[in-house]
């Protein structure tokens, strides 16, 4: 385990959120370098670095940036996704409250590369205290004349997990309900009032200054071949030192848990970990022992890296209760637009509730798996497929716990 402080290098400093302290410690240095490049060159550097989106999807950032038109008659926009509502995830809040100027620096570079003159930061409604810190930093940046070529506006959400989905986010930014949009058949930018728009996660943008300052190779020096760089991984649940700790991709999961997390609380044994926020399929302790924290390995284990927010569960945890808790979350957060998700999230929640109350039958378990299939691949967005994956993982790996309750 080696130290990797790409986005968290100033977190420990007192007053790190202020312009004065951040500037003394290196913020905005990369802007000098950026002036020497044309926008397309910046996009090439980002592509070269292998930077992947840190909002849960892991799509290559450079490819997304390249979809933005360089010569549009319409204005281009950047939208920074700070809706961070995936259970187990609390990393973006660290950036905006402890090093907001780093984010602003990243926004300036990105806007230059995609020729945008306005960036919106969509922040979840519950994060008001951190929004205030971020706004303070933005005000400072305006005062320092840093935002002459690019405006930054914070747009506050109001309690809807689905607004973290990028098309739902844009609907919300356009003043409407957060209904995900039907997906286009070809690769194209996102659209904000019909204008080409790039949507990226906070941490993704916060990583950009390092890459521009130190070069694509410096970023690739961390992580694995296909998953370059670092992520603000997190741990919560039955772990001794819960929190956010930056580490490079490829770190073995158990090593991470022990080194940063200090092992399982109360000396218990590990039972399972949800590796990347609630929407990633759960891993048994055995799978955890084989897992490394990168996109490919997680995929090969039938799960996903997601946001890297690990939820740790000890040997006393009842998996039926855990699944019920998660399905209640999805039931509450479904936007309700399309049939399989709206009805499926409610139905599966109730079925697991029935099993939890010892009123379940084998038919209920079969039905759960059936509904999970119907929710997969037939909806407007990936919310329902994620729920489907969650249900299937629990029923496959911990079926005995469900059957015991029948």
């Amino acid at each position: 385990m080696r130290e990797c402080k790409i986005v968290s290098s100033r977190f420990h400093l007192k007053g790190s959120h202020t312009f004065r302290v951040a500037k003394e410690n290196g913020v905005y240095k990369s802007l000098e370098k950026v002036k020497g490049y044309i926008p397309l060159e910046i996009i090439e550097i980002i592509k070269e670095s292998g930077l992947r989106g840190k909002g849960g999807g892991g799509a290559f950032a450079g490819e997304k940036w390249a979809l933005m038109p360089q010569n549009s008659t319409k204005p281009s926009f950047l939208v920074v996704n700070c809706d961070e509502s995936e259970p187990g995830t609390f990393k973006d809040r660290q950036i905006i409250s402890q090093d907001p100027h780093l984010l602003i620096e990243g926004i300036l570079i990105t806007c230059y590369a995609i020729k945008a003159r306005h960036a919106y930061i969509y922040i979840r409604g519950e994060y008001k205290p951190f929004q205030d810190i971020l706004q303070g930093a933005i005000d400072e940046a305006y005062q320092e004349g840093l935002l002459d070529t690019c405006d930054i506006t914070i747009h506050r959400g109001a309690g809807a997990y689905i607004c973290g989905e990028k098309s739902a986010l844009l609907e919300s930014l356009e003043g409407k309900r957060g209904h995900p949009r039907l997906k286009p058949k070809q690769k194209e930018p996102e659209w904000f009032f019909g204008n080409p728009t790039l949507v990226n996660n906070v941490e993704t943008i916060a990583t950009v200054p390092f890459i521009l300052e130190n070069g694509a190779d410096a970023y690739k020096a961390f992580g694995t071949q296909k998953s370059a760089g670092t992520l603000l991984f997190a741990m919560s649940g039955h772990i001794n030192r819960a929190g956010v700790y930056e580490a490079e991709f490829g770190t073995p999961m158990m090593e991470y848990i022990n080194y940063f997390g200090g092992g399982i609380k109360n000396g218990k044994k590990l039972k399972a970990i949800i590796p990347g926020g609630a929407s990633t399929p759960i891993l048994t302790a055995e799978e955890v022992s084989k897992a490394t924290l990168d996109y490919e390995t997680m995929r090969s284990l039938g799960s996903a890296l997601g946001t890297g927010g690990m939820i740790v569960m000890d040997e006393d945890t009842c998996m039926v209760e855990v699944l019920k808790n998660l399905l209640e979350f999805y039931h509450e957060e479904s936007c309700g637009q399309c049939t399989p998700c709206r009805e499926g999230t409610g139905w599966t929640d109730k079925l697991v509730g029935k099993i939890l109350n010892k009123e379940g039958t084998k038919k209920d378990i079969d039905k759960l798996l059936e509904v999970a299939t119907t929710m997969n691949g037939k909806t407007i967005c990936v919310f329902a497929p994620a729920v489907s994956g969650v249900i299937t993982a629990f029923l496959t790996k911990f079926r005995d716990e469900f059957e015991v309750k029948l």
């Binding site: 479904s334 637009q337 409610g346 509904v371 119907t374 407007i380």
Partner: protein, 457 residues
């Protein structure tokens, strides 16, 4: 750019415009595909997920309402895979749907019922006790009743008030499976086309207060006709039935699609105009407000016509069929009368809007114009023979042909309304449209053509 290309659906080749919607082709070629939320007037919403088809080369089934026709596309609308997908999605539509069929007006013309019979036939296997509860029979105003539990959230009604009438009374509120259609609290549905949402609703969530509980639709018989409310000439279906011991009655008008005239909709006033047609009818011949026999009436008419020779005006209602107008003109010529068809009374600027409603409430006034009948006020005459024109006339004597009762002492002949007769009329754009006879009364009221023929001159 949109040229006609070949695509294959279920191993048959069809021609379609490149870039057009796949679902439009499926509908046009009558390839059965279920759907709730798509509607040609409202566009696609992609929320019901029922219209899924398999497209070769695509991993997952695609909704045909969001698929654009490309060259060499190969589509499968049937097959085990896609049939299972449909059944599963249908099952999810059904789990919270109340089993109201025995008391729901939509039964017999309900998409959910039809799709269940065509694609579902599931055993009832909800496995949980509680269906989701919402509010039932909410009076939205404008003769529309909402049952939130029956709603499949296809958003057709909300898109109608958003895109077509632009009045925004209806919307889907809440989130997830708490989502439901509603108006704002204490506000009502209030626009001249509100009742179209009843037709648009694929299930019994939106029903007509006017039609509520009055007929089971499988007893209704349907004919094609034209609304006579104004010169727009919206195409309609007339639904009627003759219940035992009652007369053949119209139970509702529904709009009939005509892309050249009214599109998919009609105004509420026109829709409800069937009621006045059947109410308060003039059914017998009268003189001085007393009933007389038809023979007596015909003789009196003949006598009056001979008495007022050369001093007769004939007045024609602009809502008559072309065939009736022509018969009257012939009759008028025969008796040496001057023919008039005053049109001013039909003009109502307040009725007009920028959708379907015309300021001209004379349904067949275009024919009047075309036949160059004098549209000014009839000059004073000894005898006026009025064929159902709404004005009253100053003259010594009047013979009235009336569809509806009026407190007059003149000689009165009853006459059939348009629903009791066939004929054609021209709308304000000159389009000739045909009406089938809907009603066959137990005691038929003669058409004016029949009566006029009987006057022995």
């Amino acid at each position: 750019m949109s040229e006609m290309i070949d695509i294959v659906v279920d191993n048959k080749t069809y021609k379609a415009k490149e870039g057009s919607l796949l679902i439009d082709l499926l509908i046009k070629e009558k390839i059965k595909v279920p759907y709730f939320c798509y509607h040609e007037a409202l566009g696609a919403d992609g929320n019901c997920r029922m219209c899924m088809v398999e497209i070769e080369g695509q991993k997952r089934p695609q909704i045909s309402c969001d698929t654009f026709i490309k060259a060499n596309m190969k589509v499968h609308s049937t097959g085990n895979n896609i049939e299972k997908v449909r059944r599963d999605i249908l099952e999810l539509e059904l789990i919270n749907h109340p089993v109201d069929c025995p008391v729901c007006d939509q039964a017999g013309e309900c998409s959910l019922q039809d799709f269940y019979m065509d694609y579902g036939l599931h055993n009832s296997e909800v496995l949980i006790q509680e269906k989701i509860k919402h509010t039932k029979h909410i009076d939205l105003g404008a003769n529309v009743i909402l049952d939130q539990e029956r709603c499949v959230l296809c958003a057709r009604c909300t898109r109608f008030t958003e895109k077509i009438t632009k009045t925004h009374e209806l919307g889907i509120i809440g989130r997830g499976d708490e989502a439901r259609v509603s108006t704002m609290p204490h506000r009502k549905l209030h626009n001249p086309y509100a009742m179209n949402v009843v037709d648009l609703c694929p299930v019994g969530a939106l029903t007509s207060k006017d039609f509520r509980f009055s007929q089971r639709v499988w007893f209704l018989q349907t004919v094609n006709s034209i609304c006579h409310g104004c010169a727009k000439g919206c195409n309609i279906f007339i639904d009627h039935n003759k219940i035992k011991y009652k007369d053949d009655l119209i139970y509702r008008f529904r709009p009939r699609r005509n892309d050249e005239v009214n599109g998919f909709f009609m105004c509420d006033e026109g829709r409800l105009s069937y009621k006045a047609l059947q109410d308060n009818r003039q059914e017998v011949t009268l003189l001085n407000a007393k009933a007389i026999t038809e023979e007596e009436a015909l003789l009196e008419a003949k006598r009056l016509i001979e008495e007022y020779e050369n001093n007769i005006s004939v007045v024609i209602d602009a809502n008559l069929y072309t065939q009736e107008i022509e018969a009257i003109l012939e009759f008028s010529k025969k008796i040496g009368a001057s023919a008039y068809a005053p049109l001013e009374v039909y003009y109502d600027e307040n009725f007009k809007d920028d959708m379907l409603k015309s300021a001209n409430r004379g349904a067949n006034s275009q024919t009047i114009e075309l036949l160059t009948i004098d549209t000014s006020t009839p000059k004073e005459s000894g005898l006026v023979i009025n064929f159902n024109h709404p004005d009253t006339f100053n003259s010594e004597t009047v013979i009235n042909f009336l569809t509806h009762k009026k407190a007059l002492n003149s000689l009165i002949f009853p006459m059939a309304v348009f629903t009791e007769n066939t004929g054609t009329l021209r709308n304000e754009e000159g389009i000739v449209q045909h009406c089938e006879q809907a009603i066959f009364k137990n005691t038929p009221i003669p058409t004016l053509i029949e009566t006029v023929k009987k006057i022995q001159l």
